[in-house]
């Protein structure tokens, strides 16, 4: 299916663009709804549905805002609805389930009611008793887990509806991590914003900080130097690799395959240490700033990285080969926690979790940004949608990211590119809207910013990939066993803090 890109219904922009607010089309709630449905039915995707107070009153009253991603053509459609003074509109979730979380958020934060929403539960707010979905019948029992878990992990509550060992339904109740990050971000200084963006999700420091920097660069029409793009790209891929192999280790640990757990775990540390050598922090904090990067990579550092990269790759290959050929691993990973392609599409899932179910979407390819406008990393995909697919995909992506880093670093050495860390940031355009998307290791990060007539940020919206994917984890458990949960959970490894903000 093809999205009709010439359709006048939305205003098309590209990743990293900013547009004057006067270009944003406003519709009646009915037309807005029709256009959103049209976009999704013809192969598009709701990357964002929100109600940004900074846009209130631009027409009559409160406002809805949607970003419909057309991945095939690398475009993002912007449109708004003017709700006038009304506090409600007709919900989209029954037709397009990917809207469900967004609509709950709109209701919870702005008090705008999506009428006929299938079940308007709290998203982050704690409500007691929480209205869990209940399965009824003989022999049905409930298992409750969390918010504080047995391991070292962020808090969240899981409610299983089972008969015997079979899980009929899993409901995931989040919000324990809600700190008010978006609201704080908005009233903070630019310096503070940068460090907050590094802490939306602490395992995705580069991903979120990059999306924030891209916002500022889009709004001020600044282009970082190529050298900075290369280091940013390398850091993003180091973050991907370290998380992917950390998760592979954790998956091995869960099924008691200790060589995999120990070795993947150790090699993960190597990649974090490189980020530390580059940025002074194991997660890359402090590396990025609007306009470029703070640190360079000396020729000696680069050579040293390249040698160690080869060794780490050999060690990883050895470990991956042993792991994925081990009968115990295969029998435990295969056919566990299946998410169908149809479900992944309906939920609007992103990142490796979506690609493992055959939904081939990758911001680096579909909406290229930074260095990925010049260099393409082949997208990996699988189609079985089980734990095995999610595990193997992480490994395939790791290999490709290593290759990318190797080529970029070799290029740096050979071309002796001028070391130019940053360009100066100009004043931000007044009354503009900017969208930035980054393919982080978990998938699509989206940031959206709106400026005042003085060019100051007055509206900001953050979507962590986890926001799209938590429901996928719930579906993965259907028909499975509770004992599959740790494995499924690790194969997704979603962020609580990124969701709760």
């Amino acid at each position: 299916m093809n999205v009709n890109s010439s359709s006048p219904s939305v205003f098309w922009i590209r990743n990293g663009d900013s547009i004057p607010l006067s270009r944003v089309p406003f519709y009646t709630p009915e037309d807005f709804r029709r256009i959103c449905l049209e976009q999704v039915y013809s192969g598009g995707r709701l990357a964002l549905l929100s109600s940004v107070p900074a846009l209130y009153g631009r027409k009559g009253g409160k406002t809805l805002l949607a970003l419909a991603a057309d991945d095939e053509n690398g475009k993002i459609g912007v449109l708004c609805a003017d709700l006038e003074e009304k506090n409600s509109y007709l919900s989209l979730s029954s037709e397009i389930p990917q809207a469900q979380g967004f609509e709950r958020e709109i209701f919870e934060e702005q008090g705008i009611l999506p009428k006929n929403h299938p079940w308007l539960k709290p998203l982050r707010k704690q409500e007691t008793p929480y209205p869990f979905f209940k399965v009824k019948g003989e022999g049905i029992h409930e298992v409750a887990v969390g918010p504080v878990h047995a391991g070292i992990i962020e808090p969240g509550h899981f409610r299983f509806q089972c008969s015997g060992e079979t899980v009929h339904h899993l409901e995931i109740q989040l919000g324990y991590q809600h700190r008010g990050a978006e609201e704080l971000f908005l009233r903070s200084s630019p310096e503070r914003r940068l460090v907050i963006s590094e802490s939306f999700a602490g395992d995705t420091v580069i991903g979120h900080a990059l999306a924030y920097c891209m916002e500022i660069e889009a709004l001020s029409k600044s282009e970082p130097p190529l050298y900075a793009h290369i280091l940013r790209g390398a850091a993003l891929e180091l973050e991907r690799i370290s998380n992917h192999i950390g998760d592979l280790g954790a998956l091995c640990g869960d099924i008691g395959y200790l060589p995999g757990a120990a070795w993947f775990g150790r090699i993960r540390g190597e990649f974090l240490n490189w980020l530390m050598e580059l940025s002074g922090n194991r997660f890359g904090r402090g590396l990025l700033k609007p306009g470029g990067v703070r640190f360079n990579l000396s020729a000696q550092q680069t050579e040293n990285f390249l040698i160690r990269l080869d060794k780490a790759e050999r060690d990883l290959k050895e470990t991956a080969e042993l792991t994925f050929n081990h009968p115990a691993v295969c029998s435990r990973f295969e056919e566990t926690g299946i998410v169908s392609r149809a479900a992944a599409e309906a939920l609007g899932m992103v990142g490796p979790a979506a690609r493992s179910s055959g939904c081939e979407r990758d911001v680096r390819r579909d909406h290229p940004f930074g260095i990925f406008r010049f260099y393409h990393i082949p997208t990996a995909a699988a189609d079985t949608g089980d734990v095995m697919a999610r595990a193997v995909l992480r490994w395939l992506e790791t290999e490709r990211s290593i290759q990318f880093i190797r080529e970029q670093l070799t290029g740096l050495l050979e071309q002796s590119l001028e070391v130019e860390l940053q360009t100066e940031i100009q004043k931000m355009s007044p009354e503009h809207l900017a969208v930035s998307m980054v393919e982080s290791w978990r998938g699509e990060i989206l940031h959206l910013a709106v400026t005042t007539s003085k060019g100051e940020i007055t509206g900001y919206k953050i979507v962590d990939p986890s926001f799209h994917n938590w429901f996928g984890l719930a579906l993965a458990l259907r028909g499975g066993q509770i004992s599959d949960f740790p494995l499924c959970n690790k194969s997704f490894n979603l962020s609580y803090s990124g969701h709760d903000l």
């Binding site: 982050r124 391991g151 962020e154 150790r266 402090g286 803090s497």
Partner: protein, 261 residues
């Protein structure tokens, strides 16, 4: 099986010899800041103005490591290069006032009282509570369990139940939605018990200080025995702090260790 053994030989022995042998952190690593005692230019407050968490006071000139995110902005803006972040990762202390670093020698964490040491010194079980943590500190606590740091060799372990624990290690600014769970977990740990604040958030709110849905770290009425600064702290900072608390590391690090060279 043969392949596995071969791989085992190839992967080798990876556990560090810390604390007997010091680990050297890279030059760029931002650990303890050193403040130059020479007087500043008149009316300069560049560092304090730029600091995202108001960690710097000028009179007296101090950096509060409980709030500092080691972001290097202050080092970058100081016209006289008076602030210098060194790779010295020994940062853990016992009290909030020791977190304030000035031009003078900084104090490090001391051991628990003898009675506590008798109970906990050789085996310490901790329950981890993430209360609004971004998963950075959590990741470094997890990393302590990997083969390089191998926390268990010191008799320290993270346990699945507060009833089995000797204390809690708290991360995050304490989101309001987690305050009750944190208090319940603390109450469920049998006495005597200890509390460890891991990272800037748990100590002061960190980057989230002032957020409407979070507190400013661990509430005042829960007594904290060990503060571990950082955003997040390096695993060695955590390990060093824990071992000092258990009297397994004493005294100040040698100059060799301090400079990290």
């Amino acid at each position: 099986m043969f392949k596995l053994l071969k791989a085992r030989l190839h992967q080798g022995y990876q556990t560090s010899r810390f604390p007997e042998a010091e680990i050297k952190l890279p030059e760029r690593f931002r650990g303890k800041p050193v403040l130059d005692p020479a007087p500043c230019q008149e009316n300069c407050s560049a560092c304090a103005a730029v600091c995202p968490t108001q960690a710097i006071t000028l009179d007296p000139f101090q950096i509060d490591l409980g709030a500092c995110l080691f972001c290097p902005l202050c080092q970058e803006v100081c016209p006289e290069k008076k602030i210098h972040y060194t790779p010295d990762y020994h940062l853990a202390v016992n009290s909030k006032k020791d977190l304030k670093i000035s031009e003078k020698e900084a104090k490090l964490a001391e051991a628990l009282k003898t009675e506590m040491l008798k109970v906990l010194g050789r085996s310490l079980k901790l329950r981890q509570v993430s209360a609004g943590g971004c998963s950075g500190c959590e990741a470094e606590l997890t990393a302590l369990g990997n083969v390089v740091f191998d926390l268990s060799r010191f008799g320290i372990q993270f346990t699945a139940s507060p009833r089995h624990a000797d204390g809690i290690a708290v991360t995050g600014p304490v989101s309001k939605n987690m305050e009750a769970a944190l208090r319940e977990t603390y109450a469920a740990v049998p006495s005597p018990k200890i509390v460890i604040a891991v990272g800037a958030c748990a100590i002061s709110g960190g980057p989230f200080a002032g957020a409407k849905a979070a507190l400013l770290g661990i509430p005042e009425d829960i007594p904290v025995d060990l503060y571990i600064p950082g955003c997040p702290p390096h695993p060695l900072t955590i390990l060093d702090g824990l071992l000092r608390l258990l009297n397994r590391i004493k005294g100040s690090p040698s100059p060799f260790q301090k400079s990290g060279v």
